[in-house]
Point group: C2
Chain length 300, copies 2
């Protein structure tokens, strides 16, 4: 059942967190409040080096059920087929998105064939019903009745319907005009102010948990919508794999702060009401995208 | 008098704008709805070339009264003294800010002396009272009683008090711990999700109206807070001038869409309720930072 009463953001433990910064609260959380992300749920995107260093790695955490699972099944199939190897980042639009996939996808003669058996996902899959959400809830939003967190992810709700939201570093599925045309082969990551108008208009399937700056710091494209003008400007994708398909030593290990934990409630409260030394006037609130869920490399 | 009733975002002309994209609405606005920005109110920051092209220019529009005027007076004095020439961009923190000024400002022995006569601005100058605001108002915000626009700028309000908000590309005044320590010599621009927790905690003095990507696409610094580790990583600032102090042929000319115009109301409504072809589910609202005020080069 969907439970999201219209409460202002308020954490029970707020009064105990007088002067710690949000990052300090997260760092001090007990190990039991951190949840390991299985390598099976990580998509590893290796970009060509830029001449200044080694290949750049971007790691995307895939969303849990009930969100985006049809597209995520497609993405697993595409990674298993090594489909993205040799594709590229083709679009970088400032304060908006970085987009990658087949640069020739619009040209039937040159488009890279997709693996057989990919699902066609309907528009209704852009939303879902979810079970109990975290105690951190934000009622005052222009976008939804309420916003909050579900199993580590920012969501918005209206009635019984919930959907993931386009916060910074979230990853979605590019599509053509008809809502069911996104396979998952064309992906984008948010690199600016949360484009919340895309919520429920495009499917979200995950978020970049490591290496977002390998995308956000790329040169912006000069064509309309930030597409690169020339093939040379595109950033080659060397390899894309599900984390568990990589050699053991190369597998990525990350963990996130449980959004159902007291630590997260205190962290969120501190994001909304900074009391650490630099701050003089606490904001009194925070939008869901200004409370990024802490993710870190897991100690092994 | 401050007038910001608790209305949801709604433009009178909404029903006439069925299918145009926000950018199309702005482009179709009559010339009379566009307001020229005097070169006197533009700060031109020329960065060293990056080896791929000519010097990179960033143009900052300074805020109108009653916001930030003390710091802006300092900024005019600093530009007149050519103080920024030879300083650098020293910090690029992903999804947060780009910061520039004297890289040695923390080291009394090496710090570049400031011009005499700069004002010391008190914390109370972080907020102001304003006259009538635009008809575009957003009531549902976790950050304020209401949000809206004043003479082309996004603001938030609580009671009679108003303050400019930290949207993407807004420019603020770096400071040390005491709230009155920011002179305007150390500036930053927002390059990520609006860090609204900085509102009323740091002074805002303007916004980047051209060339933000020359800052947002810079390599991120690897030291804490995104500071560059080495002097070589810093991006030299060749020259900073008030626009009207440049040779006539070099003076910048921009204009913004009046936030008091019917065109802006229609634009804002379309940002909140996309009805152009790609969209299937209008958001039903928008936060103030997701309604960027249109600015363009002025035809001459």
């Amino acid at each position: 059942m969907m439970i999201l009463p219209a409460l202002l953001l308020l954490a029970a433990s707020a009064t105990t967190e007088i002067s710690r910064a949000p990052s300090e609260i997260a760092a001090a959380a007990p190990a039991s409040d951190w949840i390991a992300i299985p390598p099976e749920d990580l998509l590893v995107v290796d970009l060509a080096p830029d001449g200044r260093g080694p290949p750049r790695r971007v790691v995307v955490q895939l969303m849990p059920p009930p969100f985006g699972q049809g597209w995520i099944a497609n993405i697993r199939a595409l990674a298993a087929a090594h489909w993205w190897d040799g594709t590229s980042i083709n679009r970088v639009q400032d304060n908006y998105v970085v987009q990658w996939g087949d640069p020739n996808s619009e040209d039937k003669a040159k488009a890279k064939p997709l693996p057989a058996g990919l699902k066609t996902m309907p528009q209704r899959a852009y939303v879902a019903r979810v079970g109990p959400t975290s105690a951190v809830r934000i009622a005052a939003s222009p976008y939804a009745q309420a916003e909050g967190f579900f199993k580590g992810w920012p969501i918005a709700t209206r009635g019984h319907v919930a959907w993931p939201v386009h916060c910074y570093a979230m990853v979605g599925v590019g599509r053509d005009m008809p809502p069911d045309t996104g396979s998952g082969a064309e992906l984008y990551a948010v690199i600016g102010q949360a484009p919340r108008h895309l919520d429920r208009n495009i499917a979200l399937i995950g978020r970049v948990v490591d290496g977002i700056d390998a995308m956000s710091a790329l040169p912006r494209g000069t064509e309309p919508l930030g597409f690169y003008r020339t093939a040379e400007e595109r950033i080659p994708i060397l390899r894309t794999r599900i984390g568990s398909d990589l050699p053991t030593a190369e597998q990525p290990h990350f963990e996130y702060l449980s959004t159902e934990s007291a630590s997260f409630a205190a962290y969120a409260d501190a994001r909304a009401n900074r009391r650490d030394a630099f701050f003089i006037t606490p904001a009194g609130g925070a939008d869901v995208c200004n409370i990024p869920v802490p993710v870190r490399a897991a100690r092994r």
